[in-house]
Amino acid sequence: MEFIFEWFRVLYDETGINLPFLYDSYDRNRMVNGFLTTIWLSVVCLFFSIIIGVIGAWLQGSAFTWTRRIVNGYIQVFRNTPPLVQLYFFYFAIGTILPKVENDWGGQSPILGSFAWAAISLSFFAGAFNVEIFRSGIEAVPKSTVEAAEALGFSKIQIYKDITLPLAFRVVLPALNNNLVNLVKTTTLAYAIAVPEMLYEANQIWSDNVNVTEMMLFMLLAYFFLVGILVGGMNRWERAMKIPGYG
């Protein structure tokens, strides 16, 4: 392994192509940690944004006016404001008014750190879109199917869980796919509140080594492959869920 790393140092000496995150162990650790943080943040946000989408779409069909109004209000707020503004708002505005806790170094720090705020903010942001995406799927399920289920004595929650949602899922996958791809790319914004994800670490490395071109190129390829893996997975899932004769 060391041999390969050394080869990149030679590459730099010989050609001027500087990839310190391969030959310098300190920069390599930073980059690996950044990569893992990006993946972890993406996974957390994907999970919670889908949960928010499913629950939100269910609540939108609620019989209570106020439940529907609250869900719609949430969608409007999070869909109509830029995610960067939301991040700043959560981290600098909400974060500072929450109670503080004693930290390891004997000071007082906010109860939630930058990673937690990024996860919350981005989940809500993507979740708002997911609610609308799931609603489109639910509305695509024929009324007659729901009526048939009601006639068979299914309860309201059973109909949503066992009839509407599984059918809706198949309809929404292409749109959901789009939104989740966007979500993974939006995690780069967490850089603004100092979450040490890939772009943040890349910025640190290029400030120290002045190799902006190489790092930009690497970032582009890294995200291309990361999102490529997600899209590949979603496409497989889409195929696996296909019901012959339906959608």
Partner: protein, 268 residues
Amino acid sequence: MKFNTIRTLAMTLAVSALSVTAVSADILDTIKERGKLIVGVKADYKPYGYLDTSGAIIGIEPDLATDVANRLGVDVEFVPVVSSNRMQFLEQGKIDLMIATMTDKPDRRKVVKIIDPNYYSSGTNVLSLKSLGLASWDDLKGKPVCGIQGAFYNKATSQTYGAEIVAFKGTAEAYSALKAGNCAAFVYDDSAIVAKTNDPEWADYEMPLPTIDDAPWGLAVPLGEDAFADLMSEMITEWHKSGRILELETKWGVANTPFAKAMNEKFQ
């Protein structure tokens, strides 16, 4: 290739500067004839050079420039400069003298005449809560430390002292993150931190550590102006000897820096 270009450029600049000064008469004569010394100073670097409420440039460096003008027996005029144009202004003759928080670097000495001895110096330090009681840089180990994205000392602080750097885009974000308790300290230029500790809003904070990466500042005159350079060198020595720098630091609310104290002792 890149290096060659820079070297050629630097050479060209140096040569052109020389040829300009060769034709013009001694700059000291020009200043006296004009009856006015034109000095390039910072206008955005409190308290070294900044604007007061009436828009006039005030601060430590303008005061030093006034000393020079008094010595020459002429009036003084300030021209606000920024880091990216200060050396060019001097080369083009827009200013006679530049006192603008410039770090003394060998490649800069090729373009302008930086006067020895250095008149000031700044380095890296941290701003942190008094209650934390930091005493050495090693105390930062494992603690989150705010920083500015792209600052050269971020790497050193995390690599040498084991701090976890939390870097923000600008100083405003870093200061508010420090205030909110997201980091144990904020690593930045010591000269800027000193100004902050004098701010009543930051009364609970201090600059507890010894300054590292200390780099001297140099004031400069155009290349080839040897008579003016000798005069300035003499003036700087006198400033250090008489304690003028220490006096100005006190006047503008800066704690006396180790560099100013050491220079004061050296020239006694």
